[in-house]
Symmetry: C2
Subunit: 233 residues, 2 copies
Amino acid sequence: DLVELTCQHFQKNTQSKLLTGQHWLITAGPTREAIDPVRYISNHSSGKMGYAIAQAAVNAGATVTLVSGPVTLSTPSGVNRINVSSAENMHQQVMTQVENTDVFIACAAVADYKIAEVSAQKIKKSAETMQINLVKNPDIVADVAALANKPFTVGFAAETQDIEHYAKDKLKRKNLDLIAANDVAKNGQGFNSDNNALTVFSYNKKFELPLASKSDVAQQLVALIAQQRDEKQ
Amino acid sequence: DLVELTCQHFQKNTQSKLLTGQHWLITAGPTREAIDPVRYISNHSSGKMGYAIAQAAVNAGATVTLVSGPVTLSTPSGVNRINVSSAENMHQQVMTQVENTDVFIACAAVADYKIAEVSAQKIKKSAETMQINLVKNPDIVADVAALANKPFTVGFAAETQDIEHYAKDKLKRKNLDLIAANDVAKNGQGFNSDNNALTVFSYNKKFELPLASKSDVAQQLVALIAQQRDEKQ
């Protein structure tokens, strides 16, 4: 009868979803590193790529937690979003959420450095020059990849030159499983664009995801991650 | 007849508008000072106050040009908007637009400093610490107020302490006609809030615009500016 047919249809659709039962943890957007209560250092990440990956992973059946820096995007439906501002906030949330995670994707553009001494009051300066002293932030993706029971860990490398060199170096240095590299100096892809093109490296393979909408590139990337993770297990 | 009545009505409404025939130039939003192609220094200005003032001035009959830093607001209807990013961009556009301006309102949160040497490539650093060297940006509101035929010039002072002291000092030092001060450390007003409270200083007077929606505060401020400008002339 119709009820049984409908049930079979939904069971089949649920079972056919690639990532059912998996927990994916994804970071997206920029971080903001406070200089004082008014000023900060940030970057041009719009969060669009990370949000598109979160949407694609949910659509493929995963349970998705998105740790997001300050962006102006709406939360993809079905995604559990946690808002953060600084790299330290993001590090703390990721290390809290990462337990029982199958796949971790570090798509956020995390500040490498924070301000050494954040001023509690708006800084008053009249000198012709001044200096800001910076110290290293925690390395989120490296800390996740160093866990005893590390999830399948995917990094991003947004570069303006020598892309393959920097991406492969980061893959090895940080013990990642995959790294997705993009050339943010090219017009029409990368930061704040609606399109992207990625070159994805594993230790011994290279995959090209050619220029397409971030939504399409995200679907291809999610499928590639799922397939590479299966191969590894 | 009806046509004549309608014409009289519209003539009356047009003539009754306070600022008909006046050109107002307003800056709004933050500026972004590039560190490299990816990173920048900015501040928490949302642009909401400047956009509300632009809307209030247009509603009062003025011709309004809005020079805006990067914000996520839509352009108020009837306003001519010019988008800029850095303080230098904003300075250049303001100095180009300022001729024949009756009132200039510097509502933007302009960076006092820019990066001394902007890197053409994404900076690669692995050291535990680093420094950013900054040099002074041009002072937009002071340069406008120093013009031979200066418009009626209104500055803003977003402060976290000693508000009246800093505001009055800025008023005198930069040769402004009015300065609108707000305490951005207070909850529920200032940066990114939908409400604001301003204390406005002239050389010998002080006006309180109590906490209200930025739209209401903007209407009161526009009326106050118009009235103070009339008194001066």
